[in-house]
Point group: C2
Chain length 218, copies 2
């Protein structure tokens, strides 16, 4: 465990959770946990006055969130307002009423100004973190980028200064219906991202051993 | 199977895929498939000139995408540019080089103007679709909204007129490394969202039978 800064989340009015305030989390460790577990981030930008949201890979290093070069990153000019949102779906809430249906989830919303990483050392560290985040162990198993590859890769950085975390867990919110005589089943269907199989690159001999760091089917 | 309109996707310049054009899909049926499979959408808006991206539940009815009332929806004033992005992560691409690491995914980006649904009949149909999308069968098992619940629910509608679909599948892109003498393992770790368990609402007797329409652990 590394030390967690004591700065609370949501230091600004606009990043305060407005709806379902009971679902707001205020611990910086929870922000880190959500960012570290999620495999995909959604990067929001304003282009010609309109919103554009694109999926991208991300990794956290301390209080910086790095995003992998994407179409968005490639066209980013430098200091630009962005919103990076990650969502982990933990389950679906089957309730007695349509109205009380919901999802169990954890989500983080990071707002800030994106910076294009230009320092090669920082870019290399960020790419290492990105590879280690989505494919742990590959940062050592695979070859680091050549100078040319490094130059061809866009990496964005966003400070985790302004962020909010929201989560819902637990059973349906309409359990009082039981006492009121409603016998209908209600509950939660738990969901998670699982490994469904590992397929070796067809260019390799089929019996090439799969390294131990590669996750297996659950 | 319902008939699929023949309008191609991406009728505008700005919704053409710029990076990795080989990953662009142009079939409207693929757009529908991605939207229908994904359980979470990310809604992007512009608020005070800056992007805001929030997760929400969605459902498609024909060529309309409905979004469940959220903080964003509640504050939407009517005709406002939005971007709705859904991403399905199918796998992680373990390559020989950091540079060639990637993700297998399918994503849809829908751009348009959000309309707040005011017609009670359309709102009811949209809510039915939303419940049926995330919890199939519950639209009949659970109670439709009262007039009061209906009034308290915000539903947004976005036309699927302007949308793009991108997908990556298959093995790592650096298979030529094998012929060049690189013996290192590379491949794809397949991923999917799976049911991890079903838990009955604790307000009910524990032996309350789980209805057949509720999905079970894989």
């Amino acid at each position: 465990m590394t030390a967690v800064p004591t700065t609370p989340l949501s230091p600004t009015d606009r990043s305060r959770v407005r709806r379902h305030r009971d679902r707001q989390r205020s611990d910086r460790a929870e922000l880190h946990a959500v960012l570290d577990e999620a495999l995909v981030a959604h990067l929001g930008r304003v282009v010609d006055g309109e919103p554009v949201v694109l999926p991208t890979l991300h990794a956290r290093v301390g209080e910086t969130l790095y995003l992998h070069g994407s179409r968005a990153a490639a066209s980013l000019r430098g200091d630009e307002p962005v919103c990076v949102t990650v969502t982990i779906l933990d389950g679906l809430v089957y309730a007695r009423r349509w109205f009380t249906h919901s999802a169990n989830y954890r989500s983080a919303v990071v707002r800030g100004h994106a910076r294009v990483v230009v320092d090669p050392e920082e870019a290399l560290a960020a790419l290492r973190a990105l590879v280690a985040h989505v494919a742990p162990g590959q940062e050592d198993h695979a070859e680091p980028p050549s100078r040319k590859e490094l130059a061809a890769t866009a990496v964005l950085a966003v400070d985790l200064a302004e962020a909010s975390v929201k989560a819902r867990g637990g059973p349906p919110g309409d359990g009082d219906a039981v006492a009121a005589g409603d016998p209908r089943w209600a509950g939660v269907v738990g969901l998670a991202t699982r490994v469904t199989g590992v397929s070796t690159c067809p260019a390799l001999p089929a019996d090439t051993p799969v390294p131990r760091h590669v996750p297996r089917e659950a």
